[in-house]
Symmetry: C2
Subunit: 344 residues, 2 copies
């Protein structure tokens, strides 16, 4: 009992009119008489006719599909981001073609190829950690497929991107600690060259100098974010000459590892030493010693905003297809925000 899907052709045949009339009737084209229009629309409803998107889009050279490439779906940050992307896309009648690079450049390139073959209308990308060369992205630009990067952004000129500014969040974090009376504040930062680390450091310096606590480089320790790295960083801070009473950790996981190390060293958490971190994972509710506060990076909103930006680009493109774009590039920066956890 195979049920073939109805086409405009069939409607045309049943009504003894031409295909084009049916098409126009369904689109409320003014040239079609009211009577015919009604008849067509009624029959279409009766047959449960649905236009074959594929045919339409093929005909128009569009797909209404957005390709999304991100490193790891199972990371909390990215799963929130994709959630935001998907919601925004759905709202604008786009659908999401998904691929994960697993932080592997080759996979990233392959995905780019696959998506190009699928003729996605546009791309949303958070680049793999290991991407140093960006040829593959630049190559794509020539194909005139709009791309918007988010969160992890390649260092190439003339791209659109959405990112979250960590500087102000860091400032907020330090001010929060300052108000609580802390004067010696340490930081466990990520790898030195990582952009994310740089922003945190910048915020740290800014806030410290503004609070007239001068910036002491010994209070900032870089680490590789592995558990052992975090532990030794923590140790270094807590055994240093000027022992901090509070530590800003690179993210919630780092904070938890650091807490553990501090406890091993017999420090009393929230008494001898306090922690503040980034990410604001729900995880914090479940741990014995969650950070006092955490800087939210709004992954969902980043995804959403990036999607909206991309769709805007797509619509602009189909309106004025001639000029690639007038040399303007979106650089959208969300502000991070310190979320203070309930202290029960």
């Amino acid at each position: 009992m195979e049920k073939r899907l109805p086409t405009i052709k069939e409607i045309a045949k049943q009504l003894n009119i031409s295909i084009s009339t049916v098409s126009r009737a369904l689109h409320n084209h003014p040239n079609i008489g009211l009577r015919t229009k009604m008849r067509v629309q009624q029959l279409a409803k009766d047959l449960e006719y649905e236009p074959n998107q594929n045919a339409v889009l093929f005909q128009q050279g569009k797909t209404h599909i957005i390709g999304v490439i991100l490193p790891e779906l199972s990371e909390a940050f990215f799963s929130s981001a994709i959630s935001g992307i998907e919601d925004a896309a759905q709202k604008m009648n786009y659908t999401v073609l998904l691929g994960q690079s697993h932080d592997d450049i080759e996979k990233e390139k392959n995905l780019l190829d696959t998506f190009r073959k699928h003729r996605v209308d546009g791309l949303l990308i958070s680049i793999s950690k290991n991407s140093i060369k960006y040829d593959h992205f630049e190559a794509l630009q020539r194909y005139n497929i709009p791309m918007v990067f988010f969160d992890r952004i390649p260092k190439i000129p003339n791209i659109h991107y959405v990112a979250c500014n960590m500087v102000n969040g860091t400032v907020e974090a330090i001010n929060f600690l300052f108000k609580k009376g802390h004067r010696i504040i340490g930081m466990i930062n990520g790898p030195e060259k990582l952009p994310a680390s740089k922003e945190r450091l910048e915020g740290y310096i800014q806030a410290m100098t503004k609070s007239r606590l001068k910036y002491d480089p010994n209070l900032v320790v870089n680490c590789d974010l592995t558990k052992t790295g975090v532990c030794s960083a923590t140790q270094k801070l807590l055994t240093g000459k000027r022992r901090p009473t509070a530590i800003v950790a690179f993210n919630d996981y780092v904070a938890l590892d650091a807490v553990q190390q501090a406890r091993n060293m017999k420090f009393k958490i929230n008494q001898d030493i306090c922690f503040v971190s980034y990410a604001n994972l729900p995880i914090s509710n479940y741990t014995a010693y969650p950070p006092l506060a955490s800087v939210e990076q709004f992954p969902y909103q980043q995804g959403q905003k990036a999607t909206e930006t991309l769709i805007e680009l797509l619509q602009k493109k189909s309106n004025e297809p001639s000029e690639n774009n007038n040399g303007t590039y979106y650089k959208i920066i969300l502000e991070s925000q310190l979320m203070i956890h309930d202290s029960k």
Copy 2:
């Protein structure tokens, strides 16, 4: 400098041969002479020709796209699942169109419609928590679009599905506790009517009776999985007539809430009372008192297996398109497995 993508038509023109010859040459059709074949393939490479998937698939009435509908991408379980799905699909040259229902039936229906319009080849679905009526799925069956359900499965006959059996995992969990010397073992279960709860209970009863500890209904408490629900359930167990020395919790989050409640009641964790749970989230590494063990439900593998099953169905369908299928339905059950955490 708009770069139009090359088509076989252009190749044909440049080589002064017909379109069909080009097409066949690219597909290594035996009827094409070696010389022509070489020339075509060379030029294709030079022009960086890529077949327009859209055109191909439209022509063949296929899309090589799988629609995936699941409740929440930001839940750890589903983000792992989608990861498995995406990997498996990529391997078989399919792509994933993604949608989340947010546990809302209306959204679920809309997605189903969107995906039908997009003419996805098949569907992978984990139903929304609130789906009670399944008309929309049954309607889809008539359109002959293969569907495979996973994890959350509707109660309708004649469907394909992949699920994870929680019974044996529960048995393993109880046996593990038994070996550790526990004789009074409680359970914090989910809502009574939830299939997931039923399986856990079944495993519990099975294991308890086999261990010749008879089944005591007072030791099993249902709850709504909210924090307050979990707390009162914990309290009830720990103040009951027969106080358990170990508790099996519905999942890791429940376990952590229960731990907190137990500590509030001045119980010493892993001494007065032990916990075992389900999900095996990495979260456990970061908490002060992780459950001793956790039953892994293999979301990644479920996603993978479901995808493989769907693709198998798709291929079968295109081989013998006549018979819908000979009345056989895949019911694939993965076995859950108890993962014992390192006790450091």
